[in-house]
Amino acid sequence: MSTQNTHRLLVIGNGMVGHKFLESLQNKTHNMEVTVLCEEPRLAYDRVHLTSYFDQPKPDLAMGRIEDYQAWGIRVVMEKATHIDREQKTVHTSTRALKYDTLVLATGSYPFVPPIQGKDAEGCFVYRTIEDMDAIYAYAQSSKEGVVIGGGLLGLEAAGALKALGIKTHVVEFAPRLMPVQVDEQGGKLLKKKIENMGITVHTSTATQSIDLENGKVKGLTFSDGKSIEAQMVIFSAGIRPRDELARASGLEVGERGGITINEACQTSDPSIYAIGECALYKGRIYGLVAPGYTMARVVADQLTGGKSEFTGADMSTKLKLLGVDVGSFGDAFAQTPGSEEMFFTDPLKGTYKKLVLSADGKKVLGGVLVGDCSDYSNLHSLFSNAMDIPGGPEHLLVPAPAGGGTQVKATLPMTATVCSCENVSKGSICEAVMGGAQDIPSIKKCTKAGTGCGGCVPMVTDILKEQLLLMGQEVSNSICEHFDYSRQELFDLIRIKEYRTFGEVLENHGHGLGCEVCKPAVASILASLYNEYILKQEHAPLQDTNDRFLANMQKDGTYSVVPRVAGGEITPEKLIVLGEVAKKYNLYCKITGGQRIDLFGARQEELPLIWADLIAAGFESGHAYGKSLRTVKTCVGETWCRYGVQDSTTLGIKLEERYKGLRSPHKLKGGVSGCTRECAEAQGKDFGIIATEKGWNLYVAGNGGMKPKHAQLLAADLDEETLVRYLDRFLMYYIRTADRLQRTSVWLEKLEGGMDYLRKVIVEDSLGIGAELEAAMVKHVGTYHCEWKETLANPEKMKHFRHFINTDEGDDNVVMVEERGQIRPAFDFEKADLLPMISGD
């Protein structure tokens, strides 16, 4: 309800910056009537990650939600503003006139399309909105080759997207290198090489003369040097221009080359009108990144609610992954500061390039460029942004520390240092939050918003948290959760020594509360490692994560996938046929896994026992693909079939998989055996890997694929099979007893004091004298192995728990499959919307 006293705030534009502005205002608008004009057919969405719109499944990019806006008391008008009448303080759309007391322009920018002949033909696109993405996707279906004009950030994004759509892709850049604004000549060269290696053709120092047409449609490009290429589609990504036309027409001051002039308060030449984001021009500059736009949004929100924040320019540093290549640029990347010095480090083998721009005295970092490896970015960026003295010498910043020790230069940040640049949070605010009781990452996120934007600062926030806790004299807690004051290793020892058999006993004697989703599965896993009892025993069942509880892997829609054991990847034709028949009978999606097994997806909970009954009848057993346990031992064919093989890797792989199957561990475990150094089984990417030599077996440990790939390291060489198995038994049991919850072998080894040398002493020389005990524990495990599915099927009482509903035989009506490439997949929400009735009444 509008009254005489309410202040009418009108916002034109609902992009990322417009949304951030409204979000910053929330809960402070009790005396305001807020209206936002939104020209696109949807509320604000994450334009920065627009390229991911092509991913499957399609991500939800929405930022502004109508429920939020309603909750914040904001009126949304989905119309385009056509005219601002400053005299009357009114904004017009084609259907209405809206009065304002304060107006905020968040009109953003539009893509610049250079005046090339043919630019408006069918097959020409820009890269800005979801509608653009839809149009590009549709057109790409009938195109073979495509060109992106512009080799900047967005151009490379667009090229990556085209490539991913299966189109032969070219990038045309007028400047002599890619990303000319961020990257220097050397970095540009390396970037070009990396991008060409991905199969994208890069044309630098090239101007487009014309777009060649056939029947009004794009069929190629001609360059100014006369050369031409074929292409059915063109995407323009040649920069942005501020959308200042409304401001211009209403007589607000604009820059010579566009942009609405603003002052430190983000006010335009009319004090009741503000401009934020890419339409605003501050000191002759348009900031084409989202972070400065967010800063402006916060400044205006603060101004309007009585604060005095100011916008005084913004850091244009960028760090991103383009087509899988890390690129970072910050500060004075081109050494324009008088007297500055440049320092380079190139590793052509790894394909990395680093440049630092240093102050004349070499004491400060002024800027830099990183290509191929950005792992030092946050460290370097904070040295720059806080103008700190370089600890050690600058050369340590460029040359990686020698493996296994050496000094890693990590500066202690001053309190004023900005840690999260998306949300503009300083180290000081994080430390305050920690002192105020926010002593874990989720609480810090909630309290300071640090880490809630791009998330890139979370590792640094974690370090600061630990540092602050130590400063406060608090021991950095290694207890697994609020219910136990012990680490996993301590719990393991307690349970082993006191011979507890149930979670209830452990909780009663050493814990508080009822437990949770962290400690319950952890204790369940420890109990399973020690005693190997049936995990669905009444007292164990409620502790299990859903995968263990239903002995299958839960997928996104609540259905499961089924993976029977195929030891070493060896399978008979008969069994292969059974898998196909079972998949057909239950209409399951089939996929060969990375670990040489066959995964059957889309099984409903109530179908799991039926499926397993068929599989067990055919001689299969549980593959434990659901457990934190041994998954597979991958093998190559070895000397049996391969002309290079020197040992029988398949037989050994099968033996090891049979030996360790069902072994529950802190994290899932994988192994591999290769029959020669060509390493077709990729054994060095596994928790244990074995490579055949002429003289025996080489044993590598503590590698992994996954999020942070690690190569395994050589533990012992030229072993006979018996010694190999003995070392493996010791290694696996030692890891199971001493690692943290969900800690991979590689991370465990990294944290193990003394590292590989120490581990070798324990395993090979038995320096702790525990070798026999570890081996005995493994022998016990091997002796107690049982197929969990076989046991489950034999127990009619357990079968009840697999029904979806306790009170009816119906299945989950929200599980909806559609067909793709001749098989089923779960329907996306938008596909479901038309298929399902909605029940309300809550």
């Binding site: 909750a71 989720p442 909630k446 609020e482 219910h483 509360g513 009822l514 437990g515 949770c516 989703e517 319950k520 599965p521 009444q538 069942a541 409620p542 502790l543 299990q544 994560d545 859903t546 509880r549 239903f550 839960m554 996104k556 829609d557 609540g558 009840k800 728990h801 979806h804 509903f805 306790i806 009170n807 009816t808 119906e810 989950d812 929200n814 599980v815 929400d829 919307a833 038309d834 399902l836 009735p837 909605m838 029940i839 309300s840 009444g841 809550d842």
Partner: protein, 114 residues
Amino acid sequence: MTQTLTREAVWVQVCELNDILLHAGVAAKVNGKQIAIFRVEENLLYATSNFDPFTKANVLSRGIIGTKGDVYKVASPLLKHSFNLKTGEYLDDPTITIPTYEVRVEDGKVWVKA
């Protein structure tokens, strides 16, 4: 076509108390709705919607029950979002809640009003 059905809540007998393992949940279909029923203590039950609003799947009954401080909660088995079993509040952001339902035990039978 999307169709919206509204049904008045009624008490329905769902199962035996002993059909639900102590410290575990089951799903039930009550009056067209998917309900998750949790047995947090020998004779103390809670009921919420079975639908995890973050992952949009009917899986909450399959989550692990626990406590955060004094609050009984369930963690969704998919991405581990935790909900207060009594109020339906999402523990990291109280503006998000899932529906909760009345539940009672009578002569060893479980009744739910939904």
